[in-house]
C-alpha cells in the first residue's frame, strides 16, 4: 500500500527526523511504499505533492503541532499520532494506518 506521512515536533531538531526514519524503516519492512515529509527546523522537506496524495491509500500525521497545509489531505484516510508514538510504537502506528486504509 502507499503511505504518506508528515512528521513535526516543537523544536524540529531531532524528533521530526527520527520519526521520519522510524516510519520509513517500518513501512519498508512491511512492504509498503512510503514518503515522509518533514516539517522541521529546516522547513518543509521531501514535500508531498498533489500527485502523491492522489495515489496514496492512507496518511499518517506524526506531529505535536499543526501540520502545514493539512488541507492537501482532505478526503483521505488519516491516522493522527504524537511524534513520540511514531518513534517508540512504530509498528502499532503502521498497524493503525493499515486498518484505516482498508476500512
Amino acid at each position: 500500500m502507499r503511505i504518506l506521512a508528515v512528521t513535526a515536533c516543537p523544536t524540529g531538531i531531532a524528533h521530526t527526523y527520527m520519526a521520519a526514519e522510524a516510519l520509513e524503516r517500518e513501512a519498508v519492512k512491511r512492504r509498503h511504499k512510503i514518503k515522509v515529509e518533514t516539517q522541521g527546523s529546516m522547513g518543509v522537506e521531501n514535500e508531498i505533492t498533489a500527485k502523491d496524495v492522489a495515489e496514496a491509500d492512507v496518511i499518517i500525521f506524526a506531529v505535536d503541532m499543526n501540520v502545514l497545509r493539512a488541507d492537501r489531505f482532505t478526503g483521505k484516510p488519516l491516522v493522527r499520532v504524537g511524534v513520540a508514538d511514531a518513534i517508540k510504537k512504530t509498528a502499532k502506528v503502521l498497524e493503525q494506518a493499515e486498518q484505516a486504509a482498508t476500512n
Partner: protein, 165 residues
C-alpha cells in the same frame, strides 16, 4: 561539514556517574560550557528543561536526546554520555530507563541549515542498530567519534521514498 565539528572529544563521557536525569543533563551541559559552546550554561539548561516539559525526549533503546535552542548557545554542539547507571527519564510508564544521552545545543538564530542537517542525520542514525551497538561497546571517546563518523559516511541522503518489494 562533519559531525566531528559539532562534538568535541571532551564532550564525550563514558560510564558517567549521574544519579538522575537533571544531573546527567547538568554534567553534559557543563562539558559544553567548558568546550566554549555556551554563552550561559544556566539559561541553556532552562531551555533544555522547558523543552523536556513539553514532552520527554526519551526515544526508546535506552536513549534520550534532550535539546535546547537558545540565545544562550554560542555555537551548535553535541555532548554524549553513556551512564554508569540508567536513570528514569520521565513519569511515562512507557519510557524505559535511559543509559545513553545525546545533549544537543543550537543557537536561537542559527546561520544556516548545515548544522541542523547534521543533527537531523544524527537523530535518524539512532534507528541504526549497528550504530547503537557501537555506542554500547565504545571503550574510549575516540571509539564514539569513530562510530559517529562511520554512520555519517554510510548514511543515505535524507528523504526519498522507501523501496517497495
Amino acid at each position: 561539514m562533519k559531525i566531528a565539528e559539532l562534538i568535541d572529544r571532551s564532550c564525550i563521557a563514558l560510564d558517567l556517574e549521574a544519579g538522575d536525569k537533571a544531573k546527567a543533563i547538568g554534567l553534559l551541559a557543563g562539558r559544553l560550557q567548558k568546550a566554549g559552546a555556551l554563552l550561559d550554561v544556566s539559561r541553556y539548561e532552562e531551555a533544555v528543561s522547558h523543552r523536556e516539559q513539553e514532552f520527554s525526549t526519551a526515544v526508546g533503546y535506552g536513549i534520550a536526546i534532550p535539546h535546547g535552542k537558545s540565545a544562550a548557545v554560542r555555537r551548535p554542539a553535541v555532548a554524549f554520555a553513556r551512564l554508569a547507571q540508567p536513570v528514569l527519564w520521565s513519569d511515562d510508564p512507557d519510557d524505559e530507563p535511559v543509559h545513553m544521552v545525546f545533549l544537543l545545543a543550537v543557537p536561537e538564530a542559527d546561520a544556516g541549515d548545515r548544522h541542523l542537517r547534521i543533527l537531523a542525520r544524527l537523530a535518524r542514525s539512532l534507528l541504526d542498530e549497528g550504530f547503537r551497538s557501537n555506542l554500547e561497546s565504545a571503550r574510549t571517546p575516540v571509539d564514539v567519534l569513530t562510530a559517529l563518523e562511520r554512520v555519517e559516511s554510510s548514511d543515505k541522503p535524507a528523504g526519498g521514498e522507501g523501496g517497495e518489494s
